[in-house]
Amino acid sequence: MIEFRDVDYRLNGNNAPSSSAAKSGNSRTHNADGKVILDRLNLQIASGETFVLLGRSGSGKTTALRLVNRLLEPTSGAVLVSQRATTDWDPVALRRGIGYVIQDAGLFPHYTVEQNIAVAPRLENWPEDRIYARIEELLNLVGLQSAEFAARYPRELSGGQRQRVGVARALAADPKILLMDEPFGALDPITRAEIQKEFLALQKRLRKTVVFVTHDTREALYLGNRIGLMEGGRLVNVFTPEQFLHETSGAAAKYLAALQIGEPGSA
């Protein structure tokens, strides 16, 4: 479903598809001028799996994610979505088939909850009654009462509620792929645990192809079918959570050790 083939990403490689993508560029991918951000990334992500990219800040995991919906383009190599290189896709068509959830949700502050969720269906010109049925369905799915929340503005929601709406919005046009960039990173530990659990149950039902970026080892172990460990722009290894837990040496063991020592705070 998603495949990285020998993907390099270098800064100043003239690889931003449009000025606005570069402008909205995440500071994490832009603070190391001229550097190699991704180094020969090879990876296949299967349909219906939750693939977690785990790594510390600056390891290239967010860049990898942003290559999938062509917010960035590879300097060399290719990223294939449905057997087609992202650079061969019309970016708008590609993105309409991919849900995207980021930290703090990126909700439109001038839109209500229902207007936010309706963005993608409206872009796809769904009839209004279908859109409203979909809003209702999605709010239920993410555990928000539509009577209470549909007409609220994002500023009238808690962080956890905002994140739930962010997930609902990403799912609205029923994309096959979901990209999530530390979506629960800004939540308090209890809300985070709740929403992780809900997400797991949701994913069991929906079977989307999920690429999930996090630096939280616990989250990776809990949510991922497979975990790709990234360090300095390289994919060190790919593990199942089982394998990861039984690593006694190498990079994964380091993460586990940090987990033990850092017991009280997981993030």
């Binding site: 000025s19 606005s20 917010l71 995207y100 990126g106 909700l107």
Partner: protein, 211 residues
């Protein structure tokens, strides 16, 4: 004859001058918005154009208004009619705050929100119309508010080249050393400025609250 008598006896004239004044301000603001907002958008898209565009508008801003009216008089077509010339010059003054606030408003949109819009498959035009401009609207109005108040004041000077408006009274009053005449021009101009400031301020506040 006290001031109020004066106003009562010359009400028609003052009203006519006020309407003339509103025409000068309204027309020049219309031009400044139609030109300034797109220029501001262009600056946010092509950063390298920021310096030349904002620089030119800043230079225009520094030319003393009386001198600018004078400079423009010999320009063909433009100098042929006083109100045409005045509207052009006033629009020039209004341009800078409008461009600057358009740029500030759009640049101030949360990059996460813009990225979400892009990632959802919005085109650049959709992002501009549905996300950036609505979120920048209170800044836009703030720029228009500053420009309008400024223009109402400067428009009084347009009377020096015969463009009419409330400045007529002021210049006549100066020539005749007649305070009442000066007041008859200055007071309505001040009221107009306060009114514009108040109304646009409320609009600005409403839009800011809505986002």
């Amino acid at each position: 004859m006290n001031f109020f008598h004066f106003i009562r006896h010359n009400g028609d004239q003052i009203l006519a001058a006020t309407l003339e004044h509103l025409w000068l301000v309204g027309a020049s603001m219309f031009i400044a918005i139609v030109v300034g907002v797109p220029l501001g958008i262009v600056v946010t898209r092509k950063r390298w154009l920021g310096k030349p565009i904002l620089g030119t508008a800043s230079v225009a801003e520094t030319i003393p208004s009386l001198a600018l009216f004078g400079f423009l008089l010999p320009v063909p077509w433009l100098g042929a009619r006083a109100d045409r010339l005045a509207i052009f010059a006033l629009a020039l003054y209004a341009l800078l705050p409008i461009i600057r606030n358009t740029v500030a408003g759009i640049s101030g949109v949360d990059p996460g929100v813009r990225e979400a819009a892009l990632a959802m498959g919005m085109t650049q035009n959709q992002i501009l119309l549905k996300v950036e401009l609505p979120l920048a609207s209170s800044y836009l109005i703030a720029g228009i508010r500053v420009a309008t108040v400024l223009t109402i004041g400067i428009a009084t000077i347009a009377a020096a080249i015969g463009a009419g408006g409330l400045g007529e009274f002021i210049f006549r009053g100066l020539a005749m050393v007649n305070d009442q005449l000066i007041f008859a021009g200055a007071l309505p101009a001040a009221i107009l400025a306060l009114l514009a400031d108040f109304l646009l301020g409320r609009l600005e506040h409403r839009l800011r609250f809505a986002t």
